[in-house]
């Protein structure tokens, strides 16, 4: 999938953004949401998702709670107050970056290098 190559640097922001739009989410739900919103263009592997979730929790941006669902423990993630603030900033930064990329990648008039 073409999107996979570029996902690494943006994963943190993607997770924060998804959580900012939901009360709480669990790991599998996050991967399904990403897949459905991007129509399968981006899939999150276990290796990509879980270290990021633990890192965000470690930084105090996420808090967790667990619940028994279908006889097994399910861990839910919620943004902390600080996490909500950081999510806004990170999403804005990423949008600006995408705008810059769009500008960079759109056809530009050729520069006249001859003096």
């Amino acid at each position: 999938m073409p999107g996979q190559e570029y996902i690494k640097g943006t994963l943190r922001t993607i997770v924060l953004k998804l959580l900012s739009e939901a009360d709480r989410m669990y790991g599998y739900e996050i991967t399904q949401r990403v897949e459905s919103l991007t129509k399968g263009q981006i899939t999150l592997t276990y290796g990509a998702l879980y270290p990021i979730l633990y890192k965000l929790e470690n930084e105090g941006l996420l808090q967790t709670s667990s619940e028994i669902v279908d006889g097994r423990a399910r861990k839910y993630y919620t943004l902390t107050h600080n996490g909500k603030e950081v999510a806004k900033v990170k999403v804005d930064e990423l949008k600006q970056f995408i705008d810059s990329l769009t500008t960079l990648l759109s056809p530009q008039p050729k520069l006249n290098t001859s003096l």
Partner: protein, 396 residues
């Protein structure tokens, strides 16, 4: 669609093979795998088709590498505790060197080290309690913490040979023996134990505790080799061996409270009683000479056989042959040790306590890396060996 018992067992076995033994992450990955499987099966796939589609793209070390990254993240969180633990180990090392070189001040160095370990344990636990207010039974956690600290302080008293050591240790052992059946009963009623403060904090500290145990065991082994080959006093190695026996023992019992094993204990009342019995026979020998030597030796022997049955045979899904062989080995070694200790058989200590046997034990310990309970029990057996070696009648 709910999965059958055998299908769930297959998933457990797969996670064991992947070496995923950090319980919080394992529970999460398990839920993820099960959710994915259930959704694919609801869409018409068979279990086998769904299983292959999910697991085929994953490398054999996929989950262990995620676990490694997660552990690295958690280690950073516990940086102050790690710092104190490193200080304690450093002090113990210096104390060992002082003892080897017959310098004065060893006792105070050992004392400072044990004190620093106690402070680190207390600081980590209190900060964990403060940060996780959503977890249950904080009061119980504090009582257990106090009893454990009391037990630790009794060791400090032993080091500086203060007269209050015996009543202090007796009191802490009595408290812990009273608390354990209550805890075991409480935890075995829970379907999700990770919401209990004591289990949750133990899970979070698992990586640090494992590192401390392995480090202490490596030091006990090295110092024992020095003491044998260069005729140095064996006490320096014994301090580390006792440390391993205490920490690994508590850690082993607490590890059985995690969802993965607690489910089995919850289903069988006899297993719950068995666990309580194991705790009693593990802990009562710590009373020392208050209990006759024969009784203590028998208790230690039965503890290893009982715990070995659970760890090597009952809860071992991945390496059954290694588990069986481990159980046979520790049974032979400990039966020999018991017979020697009780004076029931003469002149076999040399066959039990020698370097090739130590080497075999270390190899088995290394082979058990993927299974945390097996690794812990092997750590205890090796520490027990090092503490006793060279046995009074040994050929060494």
């Amino acid at each position: 669609m709910q999965l059958s018992q055998s299908q769930q067992k297959r998933i457990q076995k797969y996670l064991d093979q992947q070496g995923l033994n950090f319980q919080p992450l394992r529970a999460e990955i398990e839920d993820h795998l099960l959710s994915d499987l259930e959704q694919r099966m609801d869409s018409g796939a068979s279990f086998d088709e769904a299983w292959v589609a999910i697991t085929q793209p994953l490398a054999e070390t996929h989950f262990s590498s995620i676990q490694y990254q997660t552990m690295e993240t958690i280690k950073k969180r516990l940086s102050i505790s790690n710092f104190l633990i490193n200080i304690s180990i450093g002090l113990l090392l210096v104390a060992s060197l002082f003892k080897l070189l017959h310098f004065p001040g060893t006792t105070w160095l050992v004392l400072s080290s044990l004190l620093s370990l106690g402070i680190s344990f207390l600081a980590t636990s209190l900060s964990g309690i403060r940060r996780n207010t959503d977890k249950k039974r904080v009061g119980l956690m504090i009582v257990v913490l106090a009893a454990l600290l009391l037990f630790w302080i009794s060791w400090l008293f032993a080091v500086i040979q203060l007269p209050g050591m015996v009543p202090l240790r007796t009191l802490s052992i009595f408290l812990l023996l009273m608390l354990f059946p209550f805890l075991q009963q409480l935890i075995s009623q829970k379907e999700d134990t990770s919401r209990e403060m004591i289990v949750y904090l133990h899970e979070k500290a698992t990586a640090g505790i494992n590192r401390l145990i392995l480090l202490a065991l490596a030091l006990a082994t090295l110092l024992k080799l020095f003491s044998i080959s260069m005729n140095y006093p064996p006490q320096v190695s014994a301090v580390f061996a006792i440390m391993v026996l205490i920490i690994a023992g508590f850690h082993l019992f607490a590890s059985t409270w995690h969802n993965q094993y607690n489910g089995d204990v919850r289903q069988h009342t006899w297993l719950k009683i068995f666990m309580i019995g194991l705790f009693v026979i593990y802990f009562v020998p710590a009373l020392g000479s208050v209990v006759p030597l024969e009784v203590r030796a028998m208790m230690v022997y039965l503890f290893y056989l009982g715990m070995g049955y659970l760890v090597f045979l009952r809860w071992n899904l991945v390496q059954p042959s290694l588990g069986t062989l481990s159980y046979i080995l520790i049974s032979i070694f400990l039966t020999g040790w018991l017979f020697q200790t009780l004076g029931w058989m003469g002149h076999i200590a040399g066959a039990l306590f020698n370097l090739p046997v130590l080497l075999i034990m270390v190899i088995f310990l290394m082979l058990s890396q993927k299974n945390s309970l097996q690794r812990l029990l092997w750590c205890m057996v090796v520490a027990h060996f090092l503490f006793e070696y060279p046995f009074p009648h040994s050929l060494w």
